[in-house]
């Protein structure tokens, strides 16, 4: 859970849904082969409360995802943040705590 990876690619599908949202991107591996990654984000409601929007990403957008990779080695990860082509960073994918709350309390 603590190991992080950063992967850049092109959005194939952004699914705003419950119980969790999913971002699928196409990326090119060092050898040139293409690979589809699936990244898990929070529930639609929690993402909205954290400043995300269903229209933030659409097919064809270039994004850079930082995530915790799956332990089973599959191209799947849990999103920490997503950097959009316009420089905006979407973070705290599982919902930022309400104002005034310090994480870890």
């Amino acid at each position: 859970m603590t190991r992080k990876i950063t992967i850049s690619g092109t959005v194939e599908k952004w699914v705003w849904s419950n119980p969790h949202s999913w971002l699928y991107i196409r990326t090119t591996k060092p050898g040139g082969a293409q690979e589809i990654w699936g990244f898990e984000a929070g529930s639609a409601g929690m993402l909205a409360r954290s400043g995300w929007n269903s229209s933030d990403m659409k097919t064809g957008d270039k994004v850079t995802v930082t995530a915790s990779p799956s332990r089973n080695g599959r191209p799947v990860g849990l999103i920490s943040d997503v950097k959009l082509a316009n420089g905006k960073v979407l973070g705290a994918g599982f919902g930022a705590p309400p104002p005034g709350f310090a994480p870890g309390n």
């Binding site: 194939e12 599908k13 699914v15 849904s17 419950n18 119980p19 969790h20 949202s21 999913w22 699928y24 690979e35 589809i36 990654w37 699936g38 898990e40 529930s43 639609a44 409601g45 929690m46 909205a48 409360r49 799956s70 089973n72 599959r74 191209p75 799947v76 599982f94 919902g95 705590p97 309400p98 005034g100 709350f101 870890g104 309390n105």
Partner: protein
């Protein structure tokens, strides 16, 4: 076309007959002309359930004007900031429950592992992190739970149903003791997610994972008592005591839950509908766990669905 209308009218009529209607004699429908659609002359009707709302109560929470006297549970919504599973459970299990726990294998998924994103029920559903929204009417406090889009209906100063049917949120009654809202719930579905304890040495961190916990069946007389109160205007505490003598040798006092208030736009709860098919984890009933699919295969399915 006329026949279809006649059939529809007959169905609608039958449906309306099934509705309880106070003061209406239980006579059959007026006789129709010869050859008209036959209907039974006496529709058997169940006696309506007794009213358990007690509208005549004068206790706090029974009148509209009481809303000004109640603690403000109602503005915005409440988001849990504590673990949805308990840590450091110390209450001894009964021999039967211990035998069950000793044979239990860890589950490797979140409590939504059930097919179709089935709710884990109380108390877990209320602790999962998505907010709770309280509403009031005289004799009732409702709590909308964003996870699952389910709503608890708590009869304030009321009584339990005489024969409550099992449900995932239970049959709940509540009353105020000073500033505390005390809620008692009974009649739970057999398959709510019910935490017995944690594996030895596991579940000690602030956030306990399902893989660290042991779950099992509850008994028929399971009862949960919650005490809800505000610690400050934006902090709510819920304590929970669970009574089930088939599982524990004495009442189990759960970890105290803390909720923080969201206001403004963040205070409006969202809907919760599953079924997008976007999750590469697919529940396998045979193994009772979720299997990770190749994301490329999932994407193909999603794109094929879009193309239809």
């Amino acid at each position: 076309m006329n026949n279809r209308k006649t059939v529809l009218a007959a169905i609608m009529g039958s449906a309306m007959m099934a509705l309880p209607s106070a003061g209406v004699a239980q006579a059959g429908p007026p006789p129709g002309p010869p050859g008209s659609l036959e209907r039974p002359t006496a529709i058997p009707m169940q006696a309506p359930s007794p009213n358990t709302m007690q509208p005549a109560s004068t206790a706090l929470g029974s009148k509209w004007s009481d809303v000004t006297k109640l603690p403000d549970f109602f503005a915005g919504n409440w988001q849990s900031v504590t673990s949805f599973l308990d840590r450091e459970l110390q209450t001894s299990l009964t021999p039967k429950a211990k035998a069950y726990a000793d044979a239990f294998k860890p589950i490797t998924d979140i409590p939504f592992a059930g097919a179709g994103c089935k709710t884990p029920g109380m108390p877990t559903i209320q602790r999962l992190g998505s907010p709770l929204k309280f509403f009031f009417e005289p004799g009732m406090i409702a709590i909308y739970i964003e996870n699952s889009s389910m709503t608890r209906f708590i009869k304030v100063n009321g009584k339990h149903a005489a024969r409550p049917n099992p449900s995932y949120l239970g049959d709940s009654i509540g009353h105020f003791e000073g500033n505390e809202f005390v809620v008692e719930s009974i009649a739970f579905a057999d398959d709510i997610l019910f935490q017995y304890t944690n594996f030895p040495g596991k579940g000690t961190s602030n956030f306990v994972l399902p893989i660290e916990s042991i779950f099992g069946p509850h008994g028929p007389n399971l009862r949960m008592v919650e005490r809800m109160k505000l610690l400050d205007p934006d902090t709510m505490e819920i304590t929970l005591t669970i009574y089930d003598d088939t599982v524990w040798t004495k009442p189990y006092v759960a970890n105290t839950q803390i909720f923080k208030r969201n206001r403004g736009d963040a205070g409006i709860p969202a809907e919760w509908v599953c079924g997008s098919g976007a999750d590469p984890l697919e529940f396998d009933p045979a193994s009772n766990e979720s299997i990770m699919q190749d994301p490329a295969d999932v994407l193909k399915k999603l794109q094929a669905k879009d193309a239809k």
